[in-house]
């Protein structure tokens, strides 16, 4: 298939891996930020093509995984109110809250629906004027423009029965948190190509300069990843620390101006708690005052709640790049996709889910 097969070409992949092997003179630790990249790496065995000196560390870029436990509990609480329809991306339904998940709420009678786009949720609201429709808005900068557009349209239409439960997060503050974590030793980052498609590269320059760390905006196909890794290694070996763009077929220098304007007009930067990591200042998006009428937390007066992660779950250490999934004693035994302890085991972008799904035969 065009635009896929070219980026999975075995001969080119081997040549790229050989170039990496030739360039490496000492050990390097590279973090791929996005969970989509983690899945590609494990599915295609990219890590197995690399020399031993290069270690890939899996980052926090899985929106489902970092959505705090309290937020899942709140989504379940809203869904269980009479007259409410909760719409969500499919990924969120299996994520465990402190007592249940959204599938559980659905089986107990809550009206929980999977949508492919936030605009579908707005359509559900239009078609069901007697119900309160809530969209569970999670994600990074990638999904923010579509959700902003949805909020914009809902406000313009005067939709009285539509609201957003927002738990949006931003990538650069997470990189800063990882770089200031003494346990997480990262020499270079593969930045998430789709996030950069929206936001551009500018916000990564101060981070690369301050922490002297190469950052390469990278795509998701095997050749994208290998080339991104090669670009990181070449910078590291020559002592450079720049922001580079491997994913030039999608990422423009300043991102998508229209999408950024839409996001900025609807959202403002707020502090946000990250599941397994804790609160990171200026790391989330919340609705601006003009959009407070669409805020589900206000509409349903969802108070502050506090929930504790199961201590057995190592997902926080995995999301910070301190551990790999197989380092967790519960991995694959007491924690499986059918009975997950943490979100990283169930999200399609979660590192534990990738290791479980693609665990190598005999490993």
């Amino acid at each position: 298939m065009k635009l896929v097969d070219e980026f999975r070409d075995p001969a080119l992949a081997r040549r790229c891996a050989e170039s990496i092997a030739r360039a490496v003179t000492r050990p390097w630790r590279i973090m791929e930020v996005c969970g989509g990249q983690t899945h590609s790496i494990v599915r295609f065995g990219i890590d197995q093509l690399l020399p031993d000196a290069v270690t890939l560390i899996h980052g926090p870029g899985c929106p489902v995984c970092v959505t705090p436990l309290e937020m899942i509990d709140r989504a379940i609480a809203v869904a269980e109110r009479p007259g409410v329809t909760l719409c969500s991306f499919g990924d969120m339904l299996r994520v465990p809250g402190s007592r249940s998940d959204l599938f559980g709420a659905k089986s107990r009678g809550a009206d929980v629906r999977v949508v492919y786009s936030p605009l579908d949720a707005l359509a559900v609201a239009r078609e069901n004027p007697e119900r309160q429709v809530v969209f569970f808005a999670v994600g990074f900068e990638t999904t923010a423009p579509a959700i902003a557009m949805c909020a914009h349209l809902a406000l313009r239409e005067g939709a009285k029965n539509f609201s957003l439960l927002v738990s949006h997060v931003l990538v650069p503050p997470a990189l800063l948190a990882i770089l200031s974590d003494p346990e997480a030793r990262v020499d270079a980052f593969l930045a998430a190509g789709h996030v950069c498609t929206v936001m551009g590269l500018d916000e990564y320059r101060p981070i690369a300069a301050q922490y002297r760390v190469p950052i390469v905006a990278t795509g998701f196909e095997p050749l994208d990843l290998l080339q991104g890794i090669l670009m990181c290694i070449e910078q590291l070996e020559s002592g450079r620390h720049e922001v580079e763009n491997q994913y030039a077929r999608s990422v423009a220098q300043h991102g998508n101006a229209e999408a950024r304007r839409m996001v900025e007009s609807v959202f403002e930067v707020v502090p946000r708690k990250w599941r397994g990591i804790g609160e990171i200042p200026e790391s989330g998006l919340g609705l601006r005052a003009e959009y407070h009428s669409l805020d589900a937390e206000r509409r349903f007066e969802l108070g502050d709640t506090h929930a504790e992660e199961p201590t057995e779950c190592h997902s926080g250490r995995i999301l910070r790049g301190v551990e790999k999934p197989a380092d967790c004693p519960a991995f694959g035994t007491r924690c499986t996709p059918e009975h997950p302890l943490g979100a990283t085991m169930v999200s399609s972008e979660g590192a534990c889910a990738a290791y479980f799904a693609y665990r190598r035969p005999g490993a």
Binding site: M1, V4, R8, P10, A13, G36, R43, F44, G45, I46, Q48, L49, P63, V64, F89, G90, D91, M92, L93, R94, V114, Y116, D120, V138, G139, F140, T142, T143, H194, P222, T336, P337, E338, S348, E349, A357, Y358, R359, R360, P361, G362
Partner: protein, 348 residues
């Protein structure tokens, strides 16, 4: 028997009423004018509490399946076609010649009679295509809001000829694994209707009967060890079940598994794996190596399996349980296992 889709709707009501399941006059009208008219055959015509049929072999294959697909009509098929082909295919997988089906309808009050007639006619056409007859049935009507238009159950029996022995227990190391065509079309076709996903091309379900290729494999006396049709959970789950049940390892070459471009595109977009997506007219054939090439030729000569390919082979199990692995484009092996829950579209 074929029915012209232009036949006028024969029942006086426009929609299904609770009384259509009540055992009285309306129910009789529905049975006579919708079901019996479409499924007409001598056994059904006896109008008795049970169908009485002659048995044409020493061994019977027997199976049942319920159908709850949403939407009821999708590109390339509908719930009625699915209910006939699905059960007929399950009989074929035992190496049986399908003969008779039963049909149980759970109808929701308010279902347009037009829709029911379309479904029933589609079932009649599907039966004619497979050479089977619906010989008995049942109708219940549930309150509006308590069903999803139509739920359907079909059970089926078929004859298993002497010396035919097809099943997981016969799978052996060295066997060759064939696949009858491309995968994932049914799942994506249904999902695209559900989600309003425009794929840029009209993708149709692969929903089809596997009777002709299976009959040909059996008639030719090929040493077929096992047949398994691919349904929910797709190719990966079907192979994983066989490996577990037969206690063998299976390795396939992912590059050899045909996937329609629209299915690949939609899968990439939604974060789904085509190997786990549902099919309704595909099967794997596990065959002794000496007959593999001939079996492939037999499959390719039938339209429903004209895209058949050899995808892998069976070996002795290495671990405690039989496992399936797929060799990927870059040479790495990844395990295939039973699907975990539903496949859910990803966020971004």
């Amino acid at each position: 028997m074929t029915l012209s889709p232009s036949c006028s709707v024969p029942v006086r009501h426009d929609t299904v009423q609770l009384a259509h399941g009540g055992g009285g006059r309306l129910m009789r009208e529905l049975i006579e004018q919708v079901f019996a008219a479409a499924f007409d055959n001598p056994v059904l015509a006896s109008r008795h509490d049970s169908a009485v049929v002659p048995v044409e072999a020493a061994r019977l294959a027997m199976t049942t399946d319920s159908y709850v697909v949403d939407p009821l009509f999708f590109p390339g098929g509908d719930i009625g076609k699915l209910a006939v082909f699905g059960t007929v295919n399950d009989l074929c997988m035992a190496g049986a010649e399908p003969a008779y089906l039963t049909a149980g309808f759970v109808l929701e009050e308010g279902l347009p009679i037009d829709s029911l007639v379309r479904i029933v006619r589609s079932m009649a056409e599907a039966c004619a295509e497979c050479g089977v007859a619906i010989v008995t049935g049942d109708t219940k009507v549930v309150d509006h809001g308590r069903g999803h238009g139509v739920y359907l159950n079909t059970a089926g029996v078929g004859w298993v000829r002497d010396r035919v022995d097809v099943g997981p227990a016969r799978i052996q190391p060295g066997d060759v694994v064939l696949l009858s065509g491309d995968v994932g079309r049914h799942g994506i076709a249904v999902m695209s209707v559900r989600s309003g996903l425009a794929l840029g091309t009209e993708l149709e379900s692969d929903c089809a009967p596997l009777v002709p290729p299976v009959r040909a494999l059996i008639d030719d006396g090929l040493d077929v060890h096992c047949l398994r049709d691919l349904t929910r959970g797709g190719l990966a789950s079907a192979l994983a079940e066989l490996a577990l049940d037969a206690g063998v390892d299976v390795e396939i070459d992912e590059a050899r598994v045909p996937v329609h471009d629209a299915v690949r595109g939609a899968s990439e977009l939604l974060g789904l794996d085509p190997l786990y997506i549902a099919n309704e007219g595909r099967m794997v054939v596990v065959v002794a190596p000496k007959d593999a090439a001939r079996a492939l030729g037999v499959l390719r000569a039938r339209p429903v399996s004209s895209g058949a390919v050899r995808i892998g082979s069976v070996s002795k199990k290495q671990g405690a349980q039989g496992r399936v692995s797929a060799r990927g484009a870059l040479g790495n092996l990844r395990p295939l296992s039973l699907q975990s829950g539903e496949q859910l579209p990803r966020i971004c």
